[in-house]
């Protein structure tokens, strides 16, 4: 699936450029795209280093365990494959809480850490497990209570009420998260049926 989409993006783009006379831009896009990707990763270093360090302190201090004890029951239903006291649970919960408060910078390191633990649970295989797909689905739908970036953007453009979109955003994000979970479940059961024959 990913392989096909990846090749399709290139081939459609390049064939299009042949007829559209945009070969110049395509050449530029190859180098600019690569440069942008590396710049993003370099930017990620600072965020990852700080939050992974702090998360380690939180883990050793028992805060992650406390968090999974309080919020665990609900989230455990979403991740039935993850054992109750497994460290993955704490990271999944901190990832979801960070997303909830619009702390995108903090959410990414915690999500990656959760993925790492889930990979360990999956015997270190290089394929996505059921729990990994669920975590990813929740993150792409990004449950948010406070969309901080958008609020500051609206403020900059002189909105009378920059926060008036908070309500609509919460409803929209709740719909997409619920949708993501349902679709994820549907695909999981389809996989199970295929496996059975």
């Amino acid at each position: 699936m990913v392989n096909i989409i990846w090749v399709a993006l290139f081939v459609i783009g390049i064939v299009f450029a042949m007829f559209n006379g945009t070969m110049d831009q395509v050449n530029k896009a190859v180098f600019d795209g690569a440069k942008e990707a590396v710049a993003i990763c370099i930017g990620l270093i600072s965020v990852l280093v700080f939050w992974l360090g702090l998360m380690k302190v939180a883990e050793k201090g028992g805060i992650l365990r406390g968090l999974s004890r309080i919020m665990g029951p609900v989230v455990r239903k979403l991740f039935p494959d993850v054992p109750k006291e497994h460290p993955a649970m704490g990271y999944i919960l901190s990832n979801m809480s960070a997303n909830l408060f619009g702390l995108g910078n903090a959410a990414t390191p915690m999500g990656i850490k959760a993925m790492e633990e889930l990979k360990r649970l999956n015997d270190g295989k290089d394929e996505a497990s059921r729990s990994m797909i669920t975590l990813l689905a929740i993150n792409t739908a990004s449950i948010t209570l406070i969309p901080t970036t958008v609020i500051s953007l609206r403020l900059n453009y002189g909105s009378v009420s920059p926060t008036e979109i908070v309500g609509t955003t919460i409803v929209a994000t709740a719909c997409s998260t619920a949708g993501a979970i349902l679709i994820d479940r549907y695909f999981h059961f389809r996989r199970m049926q295929k496996k059975r024959g």
Partner: protein
Amino acid sequence: MQWITYLSLWIIPLLIAFILVVATIKKVPTYETFVEGAKEGVSMAFSVIPYLVGMLVAISVFRESGAMDFFIDLLRPALAAVGIPADIVPLAMIRPLSGTGALGMTSDLIATHGPDSFIGRLASTMQGSTDTTFYVLTVYFGAVGIKKMGDALKVGLLADVIGILAAITVVTLVFG
């Protein structure tokens, strides 16, 4: 609504203070533990590079060749027929592909139509309510070396469709 601005300003510093104070009470060697955990961050960021370079080059070739605009124009009448405003279609299409692209487009829409117009509110809601699926997928799986993504991409993109439709419906009901 002033409290939301305060909350977003206070929450990270308070979280840091909370973690450090609790860990100190629990007799954790905080600084050493921090450094130990932080070390992983460097290698993690570097392991994302190949995945993100591969994905972003493909997306920017697709976008810069004009292919993306072509497909957007192709879909525009069909989407307009179901009540999706034409101005918002490019944003809806680019949102799952490119975070910076979508943010740029949202600013552009807010700048031209005004933040308190219907389009401005819709763009704001859309920008806030879903994340860049391709980016999340690439970074999360890339950092831990997952190569076979399974159904993850399909699930993510379908959820985006739901999010976009939900944003349009809700904004129309509330502000329309």
